[in-house]
Amino acid sequence: MSETDPRLRKMFEAVAQAIIAHADELTELDSAIGDGDHGHNMTRGMQAVLGELDALVAKPWNEALKAAGMQLVMKVGGASGPLYGTLFMTLGKSLDTPPTRDGLAAALHAAIEAVMARGKASAGQKTMLDVLVPVSEAVSAGRSSAEVAEVARKACAATKEMLATKGRASFLGERSVGHIDPGARSSQIMIETIAEQLGDAK
């Protein structure tokens, strides 16, 4: 099968491997304020993406992202499946092929709106959105990949002192404070990996 763009395979492999490499950390974060399955669930989803990699990279970017999103929806097994699945599928629906910097900013914005609708959540509730929203703003503002990665790192660290008002962690009330949100961390790992892969590409 022919590959439409060699960057696509590298991107999917890098993101999947980064999540799988941090599975224990994600599970540990989730054990503190959730139900302790985030690392395991995301690993299962990313392994499904890797299992389909040859078929995925034969597609154009937008179709590949949609197909990867569908793998996450079907295989993750927790709320993060539909949330990350919706993120990837909407990115696929909205992104130009081949992707452009301006197109990426608009697609990211659309994808995050879709995640908000899926999770009935907004920024400030100690979720993945607390990383994705500032990242989207940084991309729209034309920041470099390294700057976007730094925004993601800071945003993830900032979830530690936040009070959870959405998701399982919200059941803990004040006890959710003092722990980094696992979904914010998995989002940050993905953003950092994508930023590294993109480098200064336009």
Binding site: M74, G77, A79, G119
Partner: protein, 129 residues
């Protein structure tokens, strides 16, 4: 069957099956009923694939009312409903009701031939108590 169908989605297959047992014993066989529970590896969690299959098993032209437990069960159920063919997705609702009581009350309402909206409203009245 012309009665509204009931689908039960729990993180735990034991909870889902036990809830379905209660519905069968308390309400009888007049409503199409299906359940699913557990993630794709059989651990605690929910699976969109299994939810889609359960909707199919409980399918009724009158529609399907879903009773779900926490968080991911709700998100995965809403995702599954959106993935249904257009002819079906408008006829499936996720009820905002406690899973066990909601399933029994919804099935009781459905067994009398109530519409999907009536079944949903009756189940959701439990959440307002």
């Amino acid at each position: 069957m012309s009665n509204v169908g009931i689908v039960i989605v729990s993180h735990s297959p034991l909870v889902a099956e036990g809830t379905a047992d209660m519905v069968r014993q308390m309400v009888g066989d007049e409503v199409p009923l299906a359940w699913c529970g557990g993630d794709p590896d059989g651990g605690l969690g929910t699976s969109v694939e299994a939810i889609l299959a359960a909707i199919d098993r409980a399918w009724s032209e009158a529609g399907v009312a879903m009773l779900v437990d926490l968080g991911g069960a709700e998100t995965n159920s809403e995702m599954a409903v959106e993935m249904l063919p257009d002819a079906r997705s408008g006829k499936v609702v996720v009820c905002n009701a406690p899973i066990v009581e909601g399933a029994v009350v919804a099935a009781t309402e459905a067994s009398g031939g109530a519409s999907l909206q009536e079944v949903r409203r009756t189940a959701e009245e439990l959440s307002a108590l």
